[in-house]
């Protein structure tokens, strides 16, 4: 009787890929008042494949979050 072997790693990877295609890359909002640190974090996240927005203070952050779902990332 033939043995059926499931490659769960491959199935998981395929499901992850389908999920990314359905929703697009995750978005991150970097909230940082220091331009140098903000730029560093933005480049880091973009390198990892995320779509990044920036805000330079709390009010700007809240205004940018409101219309869409974003991951918020705050530095004080």
């Amino acid at each position: 009787m033939p043995e059926i072997v499931f490659d769960y790693g491959a199935i998981r990877a395929r499901l992850d890929q389908l999920e990314r295609e359905a929703t697009g890359p995750a978005r991150i909002l970097v909230v940082e008042d220091s331009p140098v640190t903000g730029e560093l974090l933005t480049e880091l996240f973009e390198y990892e494949g995320y779509v990044v927005s920036e805000a330079y203070n709390g009010f700007e952050a809240l205004a940018k979050i409101r219309p869409k779902s974003l991951t918020s990332f705050r530095l004080t």
């Binding site: 995320y50 709390g58 918020s72």
Partner: protein, 69 residues
């Protein structure tokens, strides 16, 4: 250390959580405030993670990846 004018990160986090439209968004606080009281304040504001500077890139990315799964 400079604290940004206006509302601070704790307050931003609280407001994100208070609005049902944004309450589900993961929030990671990355801060120069190293004391335990600040960490507790961050967690009380319902931040998903609270990392302190100088931050480790591997730790930061692990936190982000885990929250965005």
């Amino acid at each position: 250390m400079r604290i940004p004018p206006g509302i601070d990160g704790f307050e931003v986090c609280r407001r994100i959580r208070a609005d049902p439209a944004s309450a589900h968004i993961p929030v990671v606080m990355l801060t120069g405030l190293l004391d335990d009281a600040s960490r507790v304040k961050g967690l009380e504001a319902s931040a998903d993670d609270y990392l302190t500077k100088p931050f480790h890139i591997i730790e930061l990315m692990a936190s982000i990846r885990s929250l965005l799964q």
